[in-house]
């Protein structure tokens, strides 16, 4: 098809899925991890969470599809990678479970202690995978110890080498900045200002770290043409820092997204035609050919992907369009959660300036269930 081998098409598609995943979940990791810093009071914390409220679950599906596509198109890659990175993936899974539940449940009880706990879960469980995905991909590019049967022979700590940790720090910082820019793009007033100030400060740290990681990647594993994507990634990140400093959030967000795209392109470009190089036995290296499924399976998958992906992109884009508005403090409705179990003398915290005061009357109605029959 189009002069490309089916295995190459699938390598590209999987690279595309991971790129989509990092661009999209990248900002919701960042938003989640910065919840504590940006959310000074409960209304602002809810604003921060609600910027990604309708979006994070759809973003996460990119990961599931990337995993499923790897399983279908390159079973050997899926098998070696997932069994080899066992404990790291366990941590990622726990984090993804934690934050998913936390988003859904934090507002379910109208109690400060309840919300504080879930906020801590959101913060930790957003920061940890943001770091670990960088660690994982740096290891994939650099190679890991695989024997001739493509079985991983290292330990969890093999994965924590300097290059990989630098990769993890890069994704963490870039995702944090990406998230801060997103909050500034989706809110107004004081929160918006604080978010782009924070984005600027994060950017100043992210630029040297990301540059070091990109240069290391290029020198140790890059190809001639990845020099272009390295330059684009670094340039976009610097541009994002400059623009966010001037309050041009839309453009800054486009550029942080471009940084993530160009970085992912650099990583997959450096990896090709391998999918998981062996750092010990060369016979253990997995490539797009020795890890692939049969042409028949790849063909079917290609047709399905061609038919379905445009529709998915269209409706996901539409959902972003529906929720494009900035969230103001007035947008946040009164808490709808259950009253806390052990009410401390009716101690619902007063939050000035929210819609809560105007809505206080509604609570009376809640006590009389038959009132609106």
């Amino acid at each position: 098809m189009f002069g490309l081998a089916l295995t190459d098409i699938w390598f590209l598609l999987i690279a595309l899925l991971w790129t989509g995943y990092f661009v999209l979940e990248g900002f919701d990791f960042g938003v989640g991890a910065l919840l504590g810093v940006l959310g000074r009071d409960e209304t602002d914390r809810r604003r921060v969470v609600n910027t990604i409220g309708p979006l994070w679950d759809g973003n996460e599906v990119w990961l599931l599809v990337a995993g499923g596509a790897t399983f279908a198109a390159f079973p050997e890659w899926y098998a070696s990678l997932f069994s080899g990175f066992y404990l790291a993936l366990l941590v990622v899974l726990v984090a993804l479970i934690g934050r998913g539940v936390a988003f859904e449940y934090r507002g379910k009880v109208d109690d400060d202690r309840w919300r504080r706990r879930w906020d801590a879960v959101i913060i930790g469980c957003s920061a940890v995978p943001a770091l670990l995905w960088g660690v994982a991909f740096a290891n994939i590019v650099a190679g890991v110890p695989l024997d001739a049967d493509h079985e991983y022979t290292g330990t969890f700590f093999t994965l924590l080498n300097p290059y990989a940790l630098l990769g993890g720090l890069t994704t963490l910082l870039v995702f944090l900045m990406h998230g801060a820019v997103f909050v500034s793009l989706k809110t107004d007033g004081d929160l918006r200002v604080r978010a782009h100030r924070l984005a600027l400060r994060l950017g100043v740290v992210a630029v040297p770290v990301a540059a070091a990681f990109l240069v290391w990647t290029q020198l140790a594993h890059g190809k001639g043409w990845t020099l272009i994507s390295v330059a684009l990634a670094a340039g976009a990140l610097v541009g994002a820092v400059l623009l966010v400093g001037r309050g041009r959030e839309g453009w800054a967000f486009t550029l942080t997204a471009a940084t993530i795209v160009a970085t992912t392109v650099t990583l997959f470009g450096s990896l090709y035609p391998n999918v998981l190089p062996s750092s010990t036995d060369p016979a253990g290296t997995l490539t797009t050919t020795n890890a692939a499924s049969t042409p028949y399976t790849l063909q079917i998958m290609t047709w399905v992907a061609l038919a379905v992906t445009p529709v998915v992109l269209a409706y996901q884009a539409w959902s972003y369009w529906v929720f494009r508005r900035r969230l103001t403090r007035d947008d946040i409705p009164a808490p709808t959660g259950l009253p806390p179990r052990n009410t401390r003398a009716g101690a619902r915290p007063e939050i000035p300036g929210t819609a809560q005061e105007q809505r206080a009357g509604d609570e009376v109605a809640e006590e009389r269930p038959e009132v609106r029959r």
Partner: protein, 466 residues
Amino acid sequence: MALDLARWQFGVITVYHFLFVPLTIGLSLLVAMMQTAWVRTGDERWLRMTKFWGKLFLINFAMGVVTGIVQEFQFGMNWSDYSRFVGDIFGAPLAIEGLLAFFLESTFLGLWIFGWGRLSKRVHLATIWLAAIGTMLSAYFILAANSWMQHPVGSTVNPVSGRAELTDFGAVLTNSTAVGAFTHTITAAFLSAGMFMLGISAWHLARKNETRVFRSSMRMALVTVLVAGVGVVVTGDLQAKLMTEQQPMKMAAAEALWNTSSPASFSLFTIGSLDGTQEVWSVRVPKVLSFMATGDPDGTVEGINDVQRASEAQFGPGDYTPNVPIAYWTFRVMVGFGGLALLLALAGAWLQRGGRVPTNRWFTYAALAGIGFPVVANSVGWIFTEMGRQPWVVYGTMRTADGVSPSVGPASVATSMIVFTVLYGVLAVVEVTLLVRYARKGPDPLPPPDEAAPSEDAPRPLAVAY
């Protein structure tokens, strides 16, 4: 050791995930129907039902989503040799499930949750229908994948690559086992959702709480359970016949039928010897098993000993018999609890005949307990179908023992087992507590009418937010 741990882990994680799945599938469609009724009639009772059951649905859905991620990862993590062997076939439905179903579900559910007041009534209604369709598509693809493990079609084992390879994807998707499993699972999902609504509605009705909302809910629940219950029986019968033909050992184990019989009797209850290889005492109904398995009251049903001998001849020496007491009892518990749910719904239908409100104390408690009946039946049903296939992971093709990850040691599996068990335990407590408290609270009053109107830039709070 790592094998046993990996099997335990798969069992624990999958059964736990499946506690939430049937409710998600069933409630998403029932809530979509409630909202349709509201959009068509304008009767605010339906709107309040949509919001009340929708909230419980979402509390449950969150758990289904997050535990589902583990499902996809664990094939590679704990079962890498299995993944290598079957990836060419098994991976495709999984990838398509993600692309076709998960995106649909999660994107449109996001639009549904946060779209109140932002989307027009009809577009908003469409979002819950699309999410509901997504849940069913997801069920079909994952069950097609599982059914291929039960009855591998459309594939061959390539002696050169040493792995199973896809030859006919259409055959995998139209596998008779997949059609049987899908219809049985979906009807069971509606039975589960119906029993959930029945229990909670009965509790509120007994307290004369929001009678209008809960009478409608109860009627909807009863119709759902009765229709779905008949569906479960019919599709279960279809599956039993497929199983007799495709996995005779599983059928024989389900009945603890050691020797081939024609006609074969069905035992309601058996006490076996401790190792499960001999029958000590049992209550039997003549000819029923023959009828169940073959459709003919005098049909021949193969016994365990004979299938074991045939398997040895075909696959070489080895133990081809699953754990018989587990197969026997899970099968009975599944059928028993499914039947109890159906009986309870019949009782409920009788109690509310001619517009009566069932406030009967025993019925209320039975209906509350009844929420758990399909949960038990679903769980043991899966334990039966997976353990009944042993020692195979892919029937007649790959043994479970050959599928485990060679590079993952028992310490790693034990670590993840402990982590997941503790995490899932904590989450179960949180989830059940929230469900119970929201269910008791009952439906919320509606906001003043002007707030329901969609408007883009009005300075009023969002209708729904986290």
